[in-house]
Symmetry: C2
Subunit: 482 residues, 2 copies
């Protein structure tokens, strides 16, 4: 492990992370919101630390970074971004406590959207923009990670996406990643601008349009309003955001192909078809479940069912209705959505549709095998056989996800949280959703969780976001042996 | 599929099932409890139907029953036993409703122990004995099923136990099964008699000693008392029953070897070591969690922690304390136990330790593989490599278990049950435990569950008991195609 090279790369990252603080800095000047100096100091420290790391460490050979080093870079990048990203919160006094500030920052960069801020509207505009920006940048990181890096690290079955887009070959982090990244970021930026435009056209203030679009595309879920999207009480905003949450839940390489002219690409992708089908079925179930007991008009029931199911399954976490008061069936469906997640290669978290499809196919194959013991029946996705090693990788991912989920729930319950809160807080953070049930429900926030619990949830957010393996592998003795 | 041969075998089963009703019949005479005629009619109908089926259908070739026919026999045996077993409840008026009577009877034969009877002590002694006897006979069925039949049907990784005991070769149901069965039943009978003796020595009435031993060994959990084991308030009874629940949770082929003189067999078996370790760790955790808030003496906390953890993880379901009032950590541990279960080849249900071990090893292997992509590292159990097809079979089992669990929970919640009750009722029936949480908690019963819900839970009990595949395979189109 060449730590010097790793830290040099983290230095480059820090430099750009610091630069990104100039955007909220400008906003703080425009609004004279009093957050200028806190953002300035954060910029100086973050970019400064990047420059120091970059120039102190001699340039090495980047083209031959190993798989293990790749994983270390990915994990350390998010940990470091979380740390430096918390500085504006701390310096401005918006979040005076280190645990809380790190929680909010990691929740941003992992695009989770779990918040510890009770009165969001009282924050300076500069800090509010920074909070949204952490999610938007986290989303950029995730797209590159899930489409251009993880497939080559062989993590959790993501290998299936190797051929999707021009990408570097085998398990080396090569310069071509930056080409892939640039292409994908253009798509990401384009859809974000589209959403800002549509929200602004519907008369959402420009600042809020930007912040909400910044938190939709990464399936983040931070809002500038205390009452999240519910506060606008606008069917138009909800409709626009629902559509863009679905777009954000789709593999970005499909968007890339679509923009290149392959208009039937969504329809032809097997994962996308299943994603949309699940979405439609669950929205219908929830609509009829809440029509009557919660909403007295079918259109209202549909509007909120569509928004909340989409928000949770894409792991965004925006709220238009206090779904913790919905009937048990709807709550269980939303809880289930927290585990399903959106498509692989999207900005969404959790287990993801592609893995769910392959697990289901595996289950059915075993039934088939018992009936026809001698038949060979490879599992296929979109007509192509899936290698057994990819399936093994997905099973490993699934069992690790469940195991870490259970361990975290046990810890949360042992520090005194009730069963529902223990379950939901872990499900909502390891799946990068944000709001859960119980104490951390849609109209509450994570402030009352004890500090130890917050650190457990921080760990869950990072674990979930980096597809478990990338983090957990660093805890395996085999990783550190030469 | 040769249905005639299948029904002829069911006829033989019915004949003996009817004969077994003579035991409660004799008890009803001794106690003059008024259940004589209801048991007599049940005996005549059950054995009579067996004789009719047996003589009406011509003898066929039993030595060449196919795998598919084997599964049909197993599933139909349990469905049929449930039906005829419910007759004494119906005829005596103890349970006048057909759904409830079938629920209680299936709960007995699947050794679940979920009850719909509110005032158990008001039942005639003959009916009480029959209720316990359904569990004891269900347990006999399970031992033969899990050690002598399922391994040869290739179900859910049970193939691993193929070599454990003299057994028929490959997937044919041959006469040697009856030899294996007799050997195992001797062990089962011996341990049952030992428990009856020890309970009776502690001055439990003979009738209650017999009934409780009949419900301990199959990890059933029906009691003759409204308050289950708590009603005796005796540390001695609890201690004896705890030990015998552990014995019942161990693979019966180990008991067989132990009685043959292999005294270190428990210690040497990898699954048994993990089972005991999990048990010890969870008992310690629960003891310290309930010491203080629930019990003010450490010995009391230990006594109830040991009993309840053992009762739930072995899927027995006896109760000495209202664990639904315990702190969240203990409740979550008990909920987890409902999924873990005891050893394969025991009378316990749920996922089972052997599968949990292999799933965990698979998860760790994937971490190892990411670090050493080119290393070949077969998964081993007790030093022997486990074939990949067995692992595939276990993964299939696991995903089907989870899927059916989720589907059943969705149905339960859609008929109006709350989240906790929906979760716990399905977990406690598909895992063959009995009592759950919420409406179906340790001091409640299943009577308030709507009829549709009861049928869903009946399906869950059979699914769980017959290792999912045996039942679900009959719903696959491939099963019925020639």
């Amino acid at each position: 492990m060449r730590f010097r090279q790793i830290f040099r790369l983290i230095g480059i990252l820090n430099f750009f992370l610091g630069l990104s603080m100039l955007a909220p800095l400008i906003v703080s000047i425009i609004y004279s919101d009093g957050s200028f100096f806190s953002l300035l100091y954060s910029f100086i420290i973050t970019s400064g630390s990047g420059i120091v790391l970059f120039f102190l460490i001699k340039r090495g050979d980047y083209t031959s970074l190993s798989q293990r080093e790749g994983m270390a870079i990915v994990t350390l990048s998010w940990l470091s971004a979380g740390f430096f990203g918390s500085l504006p919160f701390l310096f401005s006094g918006s979040i005076p406590n280190i645990t809380n500030a790190y929680f909010e920052s990691i929740s941003g960069f992992t695009t989770t959207g779990a918040s510890i801020i009770s009165n969001i509207e009282s924050l300076p505009k500069g800090i509010l923009l920074w909070r949204s920006l952490t999610q938007w940048m986290g989303g950029m990181g995730i797209i590159v990670l899930s489409i251009a890096i993880l497939p080559f690290l062989g993590v959790g079955g993501m290998q299936l996406y190797k051929a999707e887009i021009p990408s570097p070959i085998v398990d080396k982090l090569q310069p071509r990643i930056s080409e892939t990244a640039k292409t994908l970021w253009k798509v990401y930026l384009f859809i974000t601008l589209l959403e800002i435009g549509l929200l602004f056209l519907g008369r959402m203030p420009l600042f809020d349009s930007i912040c909400h679009a910044f938190c939709t595309m990464p399936t983040g879920g931070f809002s500038t309003q205390n009452g999240s999207i519910a506060q606008f009480n606008s069917a138009y905003f909800e409709g626009v955001i629902t559509v863009f949450m679905i777009l954000a839940g789709i593999n970005f390489s499909l968007h890339f192909k679509f923009l290149k002219g392959a208009f039937r690409v969504f329809d032809r992708d097997p994962e996308c078809r299943v994603f949309i089908s699940i979405l439609v079925i669950l929205i219908i179930l929830v609509t009829f479940n809440i029509y009557g007991p919660i909403y007295h008009s079918l259109s209202h029931a549909f509007r909120h069912a569509a928004f909340q199911v989409t928000s949770i399954i894409t792991t965004t976490g925006f709220v238009t209705s206090n779904y913790a008061n919905w009937p048990a069936l709807s709550q269980i469906i939303l809880l289930l959505c927290m585990f399903i997640g959106a498509m692989a290669g999207s900005t969404g978290g959790a287990i993801k549709i592609m893995r769910i499809i392959l697990l289901a196919k595996h289950g059915y194959r075993e039934i088939f095998r018992l009936v026809h013991p001698h038949a060979v029946r490879p599992i296929k996705l979109g007509g192509k056989p899936v290698p057994e090693e990819v399936l093994n990788s997905i099973w490993g991912f699934f069992i690790l996800y469940l195991t870490l989920f259970i361990v975290a729930v046990i810890i949360m319950s042992s520090i005194g949280l009730d069963i529902i809160t223990s379950f939901a807080s872990v499900a909502a953070t390891i799946g990068n959703i944000g709001p859960g049930f119980g104490l951390v429900g849609p109209v509450n926030n994570y402030l009352p969780v004890p500090d130890l619990g917050k650190w457990v949830l921080i760990f869950c957010m990072i674990l979930g976001r980096l597809e478990i393996y990338t983090v957990i592998i660093m805890l395996a003795p085999a990783y550190w042996r030469k």
